[in-house]
Subunit: 198 residues, 2 copies
């Protein structure tokens, strides 16, 4: 049994190594630069070994998507706990979202790149639902007497604003957001909050 544990431990380690190596390439050159052969070489094994840990390349990407949403959710949860006023919570969380997207641009692009295979499975991924739950929590405190349907609607609106601002900026600049971009964000969030109860 102990030997078996060693086997399992070794298996987990190489799986971790694969993800670490992949992340290194992702952060430096983006996802499109990641190849199964590069990974294999970097972990010191032959090509098919990678396929023993991940069914295919998309499976590796899915791992990054999940990881990314977890990181985002954690960052927003932390911000949420730093404030008490709901409006301030929401505004600060929006800034956190924005900052996450540009500090982890490679991750963000993987999470939202349109047309990628993993996107079709988006609603099945628990990590995304978990992220949504945190945001809805704050929205609830701003519109307590509303029904679930309206809260969900508002969540979608807010997320759209955040993601829209983020991705439009990535397309236009591929650089960190400047003063004006942040002003746009605050402007949009302000409008969102003002309009939240009809």
């Amino acid at each position: 049994m102990l030997v078996k544990n060693n086997r399992q431990k070794h298996k987990e380690l190489t799986k971790k190594a694969i993800l670490e190596v992949a992340q290194e390439i992702v952060l430096l050159e983006g996802w499109q630069a990641v190849s199964m052969r590069k990974i294999a070489e970097a972990i010191g094994y032959s090509l098919p070994v990678v396929y023993n840990h991940f069914e295919n390349k998309d499976a590796i990407q899915e791992e990054f998507v999940k990881n990314g949403f977890n990181m985002l959710a954690m960052a927003m949860q932390t911000t949420l706990e730093q404030y008490t006023e709901p409006e301030q919570q929401l505004t600060q969380m929006a800034l956190t979202y924005y900052e996450f997207a540009f500090s982890n641009a490679a991750y963000y692009k993987m999470m939202f790149g349109l047309g990628i295979p993993s996107c079709q499975k988006a609603n099945e991924i628990a990590e995304i639902r978990n992220f949504g739950a945190i945001v809805i929590k704050v929205i609830t405190s701003l519109m307590a007497q509303s029904d679930e349907h309206r809260k969900f609607l508002k969540f979608h609106t807010l997320w759209s604003i955040l993601h829209g601002l983020t991705s439009i900026n990535m397309v236009n600049h591929t650089a960190a957001p400047d003063e004006m971009q942040q002003q746009i964000l605050l402007d949009a969030i302000q409008g969102f909050i003002k309009n939240i109860n009809r």
Copy 2:
């Protein structure tokens, strides 16, 4: 000279043929399914002939991006001319944007797919600026006394809301937007208009 014209005409025709063939594949299977060899075979020429008309695959994609923004700009211009009230114009144009994105999902994904090479050149592409000019025109009629900076800020906010709603929906469904999605859009636009003058 007449013969030379025939030569040029023939060259333009094959270039057109390349784009038509590529579009056929894009609409059926998406951009990732397009390959230079498939194009060559479909137009009845050998591989390098495609490279005589387009420097590389990215150049073909850029053509689609430009084309897509032209289509979008035309659709919104048409909607703009059908109404007189600025608020109604803006609302209807938002719906047009939304409808365009889902009726031409393959195009839209090419226009906004994060991390694609053409995106780094986005601000250089005239077609995108042209699209922006049309939207700013309507925004101006809603906030005439404001300065250019504020108008541009509001344009970005609106575009972000539109693109955000669109892409979030594509990630979650990859299907046409339903009743509720449209409600979210109208809700967001309403908030945007209400907040447009402070």
